[in-house]
Point group: D2
Chain length 316, copies 4
């Protein structure tokens, strides 16, 4: 998959794709369950490619921040695996859910063990692991600090208004948390865990920051620019595997089919995709498709992969 990369050529491709998908930005539906998301401009758009050598190819508002939402689950998972390792898998599964991301049905059938760390119930367990006796503030700060470190950007913060609104409308997540608690799969109280969880989802980042922050996943766990090891090669690959099978809600299979890259999306309209050995792609377009993934974002990635051959499933 290596081949010589030419950021300038990629930037041209990105520009063409941005043009081609322009008319579709208003087709998807902006998430509307909280006013802070509902008010986002549906025309907002950015795509940022970060290469292993530190170069980038960018188009659109790549410095504009948006709510990363479920994309935060990748970083929290990384932290939780760092904290307790494979013991995590006693409390969360690794299988695609075959159900909506916030379904409680499967949770009952499977006795309180969420199917994977990227559905809400699984991510709540991950937040519980990170909280583990600390103060919620500290735990939230831990994730933010990790992201600042990965992105090399101290400006990353939680959008407090989003966090507040998430909590005010988060009844289904409270239901999930109490259900986990009832099954003995939550150590802390639902209130404390969700306090952490909602803040993690409310972190605001730009495409530039996101692409940069995920680069270690494209480089076997080492930050290819800074040179520091973030996680082991095996762990990086495994996180990629989880993103591939479960990262795009209940459209993960379809995304693997169309795009063929490990990726994670959020209802804020962001998607991060990993191209092992090449780099990362972060795309943002707030309009969502029926599965809750950015409609234009998915399409941009599909077109980019078609023109670059950046799928992990190719033989070249």
């Amino acid at each position: 998959m290596a081949a010589a990369i030419d950021p300038a050529a990629i930037k041209v491709i990105l520009g063409e794709i941005a043009e081609e998908t322009l008319a579709l930005r208003r087709v998807g539906k902006v998430a509307s369950y909280i006013p802070e998301l509902a008010g986002v401009d549906p025309e907002g758009f950015a795509v940022s490619v970060a290469f292993l050598d530190g170069r980038t190819a960018e188009v659109g508002a790549v410095g504009e921040t948006f709510s990363i939402q479920s994309i935060s689950k990748v970083f929290n998972l990384t932290l939780a695996l760092g904290k307790i390792g494979d013991v995590l898998w006693r409390r969360v599964g690794r299988e695609p859910s075959g159900n909506a991301f916030n379904s409680i049905v499967q949770l009952e059938q499977e006795q309180g063990i969420p199917r994977n760390p990227f559905i809400n119930a699984g991510a709540i367990v991950v937040s519980d692991v990170l909280l583990a006796g600390h103060e919620p503030k500290e735990t939230i700060a831990e994730t933010v600090t990790f992201l600042r470190f990965l992105a090399g950007d101290e400006s990353i913060v939680v959008d407090k208004a989003v966090a507040q609104s998430e909590k005010a409308t988060g009844n289904r997540n409270f239901a999930l948390a109490y259900f986990l608690k009832a099954h003995g799969n939550l150590v802390e109280t639902p209130d404390r865990v969700l306090g952490v969880y909602f803040h993690q989802c409310a972190i605001a980042m730009s495409c530039r920051q996101l692409a940069r922050a995920c680069l270690f996943l494209a480089a076997d766990g080492r930050d290819p620019v800074g040179g520091r090891r973030i996680v082991s090669a095996q762990r990086a690959r495994r996180i990629n595997a989880l993103m591939m099978t479960s990262g795009m809600y209940d459209a993960s299979g379809d995304f693997a089919y169309r795009i063929g890259l490990p990726a994670k999306s959020g209802v804020g309209g962001g998607i991060v995709a990993v191209v092992p050995g090449v780099g990362t792609v972060a795309v943002w377009s707030p309009g969502l498709d029926a599965t809750g993934n950015s409609l234009v974002g998915s399409l941009v990635l599909e077109k980019l992969v078609q023109r670059t051959g950046w799928t992990v499933f190719g033989g070249r």
Copy 2:
């Protein structure tokens, strides 16, 4: 992922792994729902790696045939896509099922559209597509002929005794087929379609034949040895994607996590894995784990990937 490949070195690794997993061959349970499978020697073992350049690395009874069972679903899917293309996806989904491979529950919830072509219901629809007005015999012959062509081996045949037993004990598959019919997702009669389906599952092949037959999936759709194009590059990659997200029954997520390669298993104890750009691996060990996949087969692949770095999720 390229790097210089040394078949001799791989053969040494395979030998070591065979040794290390020897004691586990009797831990898994041989499929027992039909006498023909129940009678298979649990000690049977083979692993065959086929490289793009035609060389191989093999250990064990690589010429001994076994019932390929669900592995046939990969080849039938390839044929069906060749026949009707993406129209197939109106009748079958592309999402992991999150349920047992023969579950009828999800089928009811999703109105007769099977979640993917690798669960039984989906594969039955695929067989219906292949049958489409032909005689069952012709359709069975089509799959066998395709496999002989891919493997370059005219000796591949259906094990009639297995096919007969499958039919005699196939009540759940009949239930699935009638259910599909009730939802209008079966053109032919359940009897005719299952006649085809059971024979396809009953094809007997060796690890050597299987690894060879799948080589086009590791080479962007072109047979790298014979040089003929089997499917387009995009289609090959997409079949790999489906194998990654849904190929290992309800353990596909776990398999992606541990091994990180597109793969398809069968209850006969076989597994085929694709290493894009490198080659294919076919392994056989009849003892199954709780998810219906070869216990030793999965372990062999895991160890092989750890020592070779052959996961698609790595950055090197």
Copy 3:
């Protein structure tokens, strides 16, 4: 609940109710899955009350026959209990299903034991019990003979065209039967059992015949007119109990709430209700509500109970 009964007064009430519900006959939807049912006149209407002393109160086309469909399940259950007694309950449950009458989901969750003998899967098991090594023709004849005996009317027959159509469109029932077979809860082949089942559903009877045939259920198991014991008092009461909790598909709770009588409906538009100690009511109106029960039929029973106090839940 006894009180002095005046058939003439009841007939006046029935006439009023028929008048009041006249306009609603075209609101419900006539079953349309087979042409024989789809072609029935939606204006068809009859209601027949049979009292323990042999007198009747009737309005409408009480001699006109219609397809009794699921109402046959009451008679088959009676025969099966006579044949094998409480052993039946090892193969069928006694709980309301909380699901559509032909759901296959619950059957999977409960390992092939249908929830009750009035959902399709349960009735198919009952037919299997009745078949038990006999010829389908004999078994069908057994049910018809039983009905002729109960109704005192030798003219009752199976509508062969309906039976034929049921089979031709019965894919979902075949799915249920094969599923039962897969779980070991069917002794005979699905083909033979459904041959019996479809014929039993296709029996044609009039309201007059139906009300008469059920009289033993209102009289503790003894035919109050002929004087012969049909079943024990306990068994009659228990069949009534099953009708109360599961007789009206997934609207049984609502029916108990509104009407408060044991009853069984069929998609042919018939309903039979039992008033213990008083008599029986058979009503027919082909238009069905969303739950598959006769819309006008249910309403007629509700109005009749309101004016007569014939609920089993009353204190007078």
Copy 4:
């Protein structure tokens, strides 16, 4: 069902039945999810029959109080129907659930409308209706006051320790409440509603008090002793119907089959059954069967009905 009642003869029967079931008191399992219930003497036993004319037949510790738990749902439903009438049915169904009493699965499938007012989710909605802007204390007092009035006994109180423990272990009920809230089927906060709900479940009553308090249900809504109308005849009958189809958790069908009376049980080991036109029976024995109903309590009722013919399904 009238016939001349002889309380003395009934008392003899009750004594015999108590004797016959003595050995089974330790077979059932006392509810153990809170220490206050776990500590109850499994040998505790009482049965009290209240007749319409005010006489009684009693055996055992009929004055000893126990936690009525889900039996409170009958009284709360009565109050809620008095408050908002049939509007209640827009928020709660009337169908048996076909699932465990505290299942969250069905709630998701049915979009936040609990199947009936006797499963936990439905009872939580009923508590929400009763709370409706009042103080939890007032609402709890309302139920207690109603029970004191019905039973003619001012000593009835909430067991505060039980209420406290219920809350401390009530995670699943919190999950249900938040889930209802997420679906817009809860007006008040889960915390306030469950504060009420847990106290209502923690009311302590004796068999004597319970039998007396339910007498209006056996007498078409009028207190047959005090002479005051509690609810309309229709409403009393309808509450009986709901108890028949849904009062005994997921064993309601079996209970109707075996006993044939409207009844409501609680995990404290109490059961109240209604014999329309005759009276009521309250029985208490803490050991529960697998369905959560008093094992000996159910058996006592079955034997009593067999010897008295007090089923609603009988013709005499």
